[in-house]
């Protein structure tokens, strides 16, 4: 139908436009688009291309920290006093918890709180409050053993609870709770990235040794799986090293229980016991009471979080008569049978010296002076020292200088300076006043007698380790020094044996059935820093070793401020006997079977 077919009209041609014009417009459009691309290219490649390259590389890469295991703290037999475990923290996203599958807001907090508080040992109400907080991140529980945490979170998911997840949170376990807590210390709550916070004790002193270095790993990941041939870089973690102590966990435990019993029975303020291997100077137990549970340090008083045996100084009292006697014997000024006439009281330059028991003039041998713990007799004997000689002996015994065993906050005690040393000072120091010591120092000093006159530095760390102050401590660093002759030490030990004799001495309670025991009691007035005087309270103590003729253990027990009126012999003596008896049994030390010392005490 040729008549109906419309011919291309002028209007249609005008609408399509001129081909040249259309071409130009098209080119301009293409050019604009291309220049946008070019601009973007310059932006990507020209300006900071590295950041984009990194972003591209990070896409699909998973980076994780390979945690270094913190070293354990072990006792001398390898029993753990502190060890690390892989813990997890359970965290909740309250927004996700309180949303159901359709995205509606619901209150599922009570249900979940009930479930979790039952399983994870957290408080229901605290948890409820946290789960209702407007946030995306709330702690549910920290330091949960990995197995428990995973099980609980999986179970919660099965029950339809959403929004729970677990993160790494290493746990530090102290399997024996309060045993050696005074030495080991504890860790605070770790930082969010799992870095532990050592707060006290060896945990803090040897943190560098224990902590190790974290490693890292980067993997190309897809849907939770490593890509087989994808990039991966692994820097292995370097685990922390173990720290081995010289402490024997069992003996430490027993000593702590005995000290606690003793302090509570005497209604004292505090108490301590030190057990030392006489031959090596290794501290087998260093017990403090009150102490704390290393798994819950916040439950205890802050003052109990250290070791009083090392940080507190006090006047040792009569125990230091042993040192005076040993010095006198070594200097050749006396023998155990030296005869002394001891008056009822002794007037010296500035004051009158008395004895703890009232007596008229009595005739005691030097052994008797020690056995009866006569102050007057000791002062009379110490008059035989030449000038400065006594101070030299006491300094050599280690008084006035820190032991350097590696315990934090050690107080060195006070041995008066030679310039302040007067004859009155010497009188008082002879029987243990006007001089202050810490218990570890005093144990090492008494151990000198047990170890044939050779003083060994006490040590708490096996081998050698560097403290955070950069000092090397440990058994490898312990030095020895001959303070008195072996003969003088032996004679002193024979005199000390008379102390525990039921007739001759004052501390029959310190006897160990079947063994020869040498020891010395101490009942010292306590100096109060408030009034600058003796405040009427006492420090009672007992230091000794067994077997007396072949010493294996030197034990020192101190109780501060007993309120039951007991002295060194009646309070600390029995505790000494218990602890030493236990040590002898544990290390299977048979009795020597020799007859006990029968030095005369009177003449």
């Amino acid at each position: 139908m040729p008549t109906t077919r419309p011919m291309p009209s002028h209007e249609a041609a005008a609408r399509r436009g001129h081909p040249h014009f259309r071409l130009r417009v098209g080119f301009v459009l293409i050019a604009m688009v291309l220049s946008v691309f070019a601009g973007r290219l310059v932006q990507l490649q020209g300006i900071d291309p590295k950041a984009y390259a990194e972003m591209a590389a990070a896409e699909g890469m998973d980076e994780m920290v390979l945690p270094a295991q913190r070293g354990a703290i072990l006792d001398r037999n390898g029993e753990p006093l502190a060890q690390s475990a892989d813990g997890l923290m359970v965290v909740a996203d309250p927004a996700l918890v309180n949303t159901d599958e359709e995205g509606q807001e619901v209150d599922r907090a009570p249900e979940l709180a009930k479930f979790l508080s039952g399983k994870l040992d957290v408080d229901y109400f605290t948890l409820l409050q946290r789960l209702r907080t407007e946030s995306r991140f709330q702690y549910v529980a920290r330091g949960v053993p990995a197995a428990t945490a995973t099980k609980v979170v999986d179970r919660a998911e099965e029950l339809g609870f959403d929004g729970l997840s677990t993160w790494r949170d290493p746990v530090r376990e102290y399997p024996a709770d309060d045993v050696a807590a005074n030495l080991v210390g504890f860790l605070g709550t770790p930082l969010a990235d799992g870095t532990p916070q050592p707060l006290a004790g060896f945990e803090r002193t040897f943190d560098e040794l224990l902590s190790g270095t974290d490693g890292s790993a980067r993997y190309a990941m897809a849907a939770g799986n490593k890509l087989p041939l994808g990039d991966n870089t692994v820097v292995e973690a370097r685990d922390g090293q173990d720290l081995t102590l010289t402490v024997d966990r069992e003996l430490q435990w027993y000593a702590q229980r005995v000290v606690r019993q003793t302090v509570q029975q005497a209604r004292g303020d505090s108490g301590l016991a030190v057990v030392m291997d006489s031959r090596t100077g290794e501290v087998l137990a260093l017990a403090d009471h009150p102490t704390y549970d290393a798994n819950a340090p916040l439950a205890s008083d802050e003052a109990d979080l250290g070791s009083r045996a090392v940080s507190d100084v006090y006047e040792p009292g009569s125990v230091s008569k042993v040192l005076t006697m040993a010095g006198l014997l070594d200097a050749g000024k006396v023998t155990p049978r030296t005869r002394l006439t001891v008056p009822g009281s002794l007037a010296r330059q500035d004051r009158t010296i008395g004895d703890w028991f009232p007596h008229d003039t009595i005739r005691l041998t030097l052994a008797g002076v020690l056995a009866k713990s006569s102050n007057i007799g000791t002062v009379l004997a110490s008059d035989k020292f030449e000038d400065g000689q006594m101070r030299r002996y006491l300094a050599a015994f280690g008084l006035g200088s820190a032991t350097g065993a590696g315990v934090r906050g050690e107080s060195a005690g006070i041995l008066p300076d030679p310039s302040l040393w007067t004859s009155q000072t010497q009188d008082r120091i002879a029987f243990g006043q006007s001089v202050s010591v810490n218990a570890l120092q005093m144990t090492a000093a008494v151990n000198t007698i047990a170890n044939d006159g050779v003083r060994i530095d006490p040590s708490l760390v096996r081998g050698s380790a560097t403290t955070d102050a950069g000092e090397q401590v440990g058994t490898d660093q312990a030095t020895t020094q001959q303070v008195v002759s072996a003969e003088a030490a032996r004679k002193t030990a024979l005199m000390m044996e008379r102390v525990v004799d039921p007739e001759a001495g004052v501390a029959p309670g310190a006897q160990i059935p079947g063994y020869r025991v040498a020891g010395k009691t101490g009942t010292a007035q306590r100096a109060s820093s408030e009034c600058g005087c003796y405040d009427g309270t006492f420090t009672v103590s007992f230091a000794g070793f067994a077997p007396a003729d072949d010493p294996r253990f030197t034990v020192y027990v101190v109780v501060q401020n007993p309120r039951n009126g007991g002295g060194g012999g009646s309070v600390a003596g029995p505790a000494f006997a218990k602890i030493t008896g236990y040590a002898l049994r544990r290390y299977a030390v048979p009795p020597t079977g020799t007859p006990a010392s029968d030095l005369p005490v009177e003449w």
Partner: protein, 219 residues
């Protein structure tokens, strides 16, 4: 050849056609038919196909197995994590059981005591060394700290109220004399209250007794 031409350049005009003709005659080459040895196409093509296919399929299989082992590695790693967590949990439980306190608790439950000193039996001659009479004297070691003393605030002195004289007697008289229901009901209520109080006291006493027992255990 070129040197030949150049040296004999003078005689080129007359001699050349003859020589060239002879050379051409000599050099006349005939086209030899090309002996085309046609290799069979089929084996080659199939070899290439097999190689290609084998390569592709092999690569695919290799990739799949790699992927498979990646999955396996992931699941094994997860299992290792779970198992090591379990091992750790068990180890820490074991450590709890080996705690000297726990051992002592169990030993004391069996009636064991710490002796004052050891005795030694010489297996060679059967003699016992040590002080046998006194070494066996054991002592029970208190394992737990004493409970803190009960603060006096918890036991306030009882408040004693002396009623004004005669009041008590009147009430008793009224109670016994009156016969109406209201009073009876009141009496019943009083009786109930008394019974409640008694039961409360009993339970208190029981709990106290329990506490005493606990204290004794701790001693």
């Amino acid at each position: 050849m070129s040197s030949l031409y150049s040296t004999q350049g003078a005689a080129r005009s007359n001699r050349m056609p003859r020589i060239a003709g002879a050379a051409v005659e000599r050099a006349r080459l005939s086209v030899v038919p090309v002996a085309r040895t046609r290799a069979a196409k089929v084996p080659f093509v199939s070899l290439v196909t097999v190689l290609l296919l084998g390569g592709v399929v092999g690569l695919l299989l290799f990739n799949t197995s790699m992927q498979q082992s990646a999955f396996a590695a992931t699941s094994l790693e997860q299992r290792a994590t779970v198992l090591s967590a379990r091992q750790e949990a068990l180890a820490s439980k074991l450590e709890r059981l080996r705690d000297p306190q726990e051992i002592a608790r169990r030993a004391q439950k069996m009636g064991m005591q710490v002796p004052a000193a050891p005795l030694f039996l010489d297996l060679a001659d059967g003699t016992v060394s040590g002080d046998a009479a006194r070494a066996t004297l054991g002592a029970r070691l208190p394992l737990d700290p004493l409970l803190p003393a009960r603060p006096s605030e918890l036991d306030p002195p009882a408040t004693v109220v002396t009623p004004p004289e005669g009041v008590l007697g009147d009430q008793r008289g009224g109670g016994s004399g009156g016969g109406d229901g209201g009073k009876n009901k009141q009496d019943e209520k009083k009786a109930d209250k008394k019974a409640e109080k008694k039961s409360e006291k009993k339970s208190e006493k029981k709990s106290e007794k329990k506490k005493d027992k606990k204290n004794k255990k701790n001693d």
